[in-house]
Amino acid sequence: MRDRDDTAPHSAEDDALDLAIQALPRSQSPSRDLWPQLQAQLPPRHARRAPWAWAAAAAVAALALSVWIRPDLGPGTISAPPLAQLDSPTAEHSLLNVYESQKAAQMGALNFSNPSVGRQLAIWDGAVQQVRGALSYYPEEPRLLRQLDRLYRQQLNYLETLAMVDPQVAAYY
């Protein structure tokens, strides 16, 4: 048997075959109703649901109830997966990788003791978590990705501004 070569020119036989295929109807109905015969061959159905099915239903109900009780799992405050758990190279992942390393480098260079700087960065971290929570539903949403990008740019600009002023002046205030 010879492998078919798709790049080879079509012969007259091929053309004829194509024409024949095109002439075939797209669907065909059976000449009679086949269902009664098939139904007769089926095994009888159990009237009672198996115990494992009830257990599965209970598990689903418990999960739904936990989402309802835990507001942090509901819309508005969706929790984002930790960075380490992201296994696919999404746009979000790429942004986080780039910006988190830049941020860490800038913070390492600054070494601020002023607690207000930490509080300010925590506010951005919270906002990043919110945007990432929304991205967990809409991973490729460009406006959310842009928001994430902006949040990191703001942080880097903030750290850059602090680095530009005399650290002791900034620390004093």
Binding site: P75, G76, I78, I123, A134, Y137, Q147, D166
Partner: protein
């Protein structure tokens, strides 16, 4: 006689340290070009800069009691003036502005000005060649500046009046007030509030926690961005504006002309509400996700209003 002399010598010895620290007077001037590039550095105190009637750089007043002098250089279209401090004062606390320099400076109206300070209040007016003014803890009052205007502070307040051109105003914690600006303007704060009445054709507002209240007229391009702060914008005399806005959890309220012609694309991605007082259109909710979406057009849809929020509320209302 000997006793009198020794008494005077003792008094002199006691007073000398105070005399050395007294604020020294300064009165200097240089002839400069009409579009001179002028750089001024004053660490603390109060500085007032005004346009001169002639092409002269002039500085009068007193210099910081802790300064060891000043440097004034003017050559080939560049003039720089700097208060000098002993090397031991590097990294010092400049917070005590009352003991700093008190200076009145005149520069040609068309000059390009760069000013830098730490704890210095600066009041600058009428420079049209461009101004780059920055201070850390002092306040800035800037009026009737033109061309490229950059006003920045860390903790200080910024009061901008009737400036025009390409204007950038930024603070971290200070409050921003702007009245009568035209051209293009960017407001940026982290925690500071923004209050503005502007006729700029392009406006950009960025805040993290600060609240912003703006009354705009004739703005064609408007960008709004906040993290937690609320933004309230009233945009008059703009029938086909292009508006882009985003908020994480801050609320955004937008008042627009009733006759606006624009396509609206508003989305709340995770819990935010959308209130539309412009038309009967109501937001729809995604079947498999928390997002709410509102799309509609008014008039020919020539302008655009694109706003996105995560959990903040968005409200659009006719003026």
């Amino acid at each position: 006689m000997k006793a009198i002399l020794s008494k005077n010598a003792l008094l002199l010895c006691l007073l000398l340290p105070f005399a050395a620290n007294a604020q020294e007077p300064i009165d200097e001037s240089r002839s400069v070009s009409a579009n001179e590039r002028i750089s001024i550095e004053v660490m603390r105190g109060t500085v007032r800069i005004r346009p001169s009637d002639d092409n002269v750089f002039r500085v009068r007043g007193t210099i910081d009691e802790d300064a060891e002098g000043y440097t004034l250089e003017s050559d080939n279209g560049f003039t720089s003036f700097e208060i000098d401090y002993p090397r031991s004062s590097r990294g010092r606390n400049w917070s005590d502005a009352d003991d700093g320099s008190e200076l009145e400076i005149e520069v040609p109206q068309g000059s390009e000005l760069e000013f830098e300070g730490v704890s210095v209040d600066i009041d600058v007016m009428g420079i049209t060649g461009g101004s780059d003014i920055s201070t850390v803890n002092g306040d800035i009052i800037a009026s009737e500046l033109g061309n490229f205007v950059n006003l920045s502070a860390v903790n200080g307040e910024i009061d901008s009046r009737n400036n025009s051109g390409r204007i950038d105003i930024s603070t971290i914690n200070g409050e921003v007030t702007d009245n009568g600006s035209t051209g293009r303007i960017d407001y940026s704060t982290i925690n500071g509030e923004i209050r503005a009445n502007s006729s700029a054709t392009e406006v950009s507002i960025s805040t993290v926690n600060g609240e912003a209240v703006l009354s705009l007229a004739g703005t064609e391009v408007l960008e709004l961005s906040t993290v937690n702060g609320d933004i309230d914008v009233r945009l008059a005399d703009a029938l086909t504006p292009r508006i882009d806005g985003s908020t994480v959890s801050g609320d955004l309220r937008l008042g627009l002309e009733p006759g606006i012609s624009a396509s609206f694309d508003i989305s709340a991605n995770s819990g935010g509400d959308i209130e539309n007082d412009f038309s009967d259109d109501r937001p729809s909710r995604d079947r498999y996700g928390p997002r709410k979406h509102l799309n509609f057009s008014t008039g020919t849809g020539a302008g655009s209003v694109n706003i996105t929020t995560v959990s903040g509320d968005i409200e659009i209302v006719p003026l």
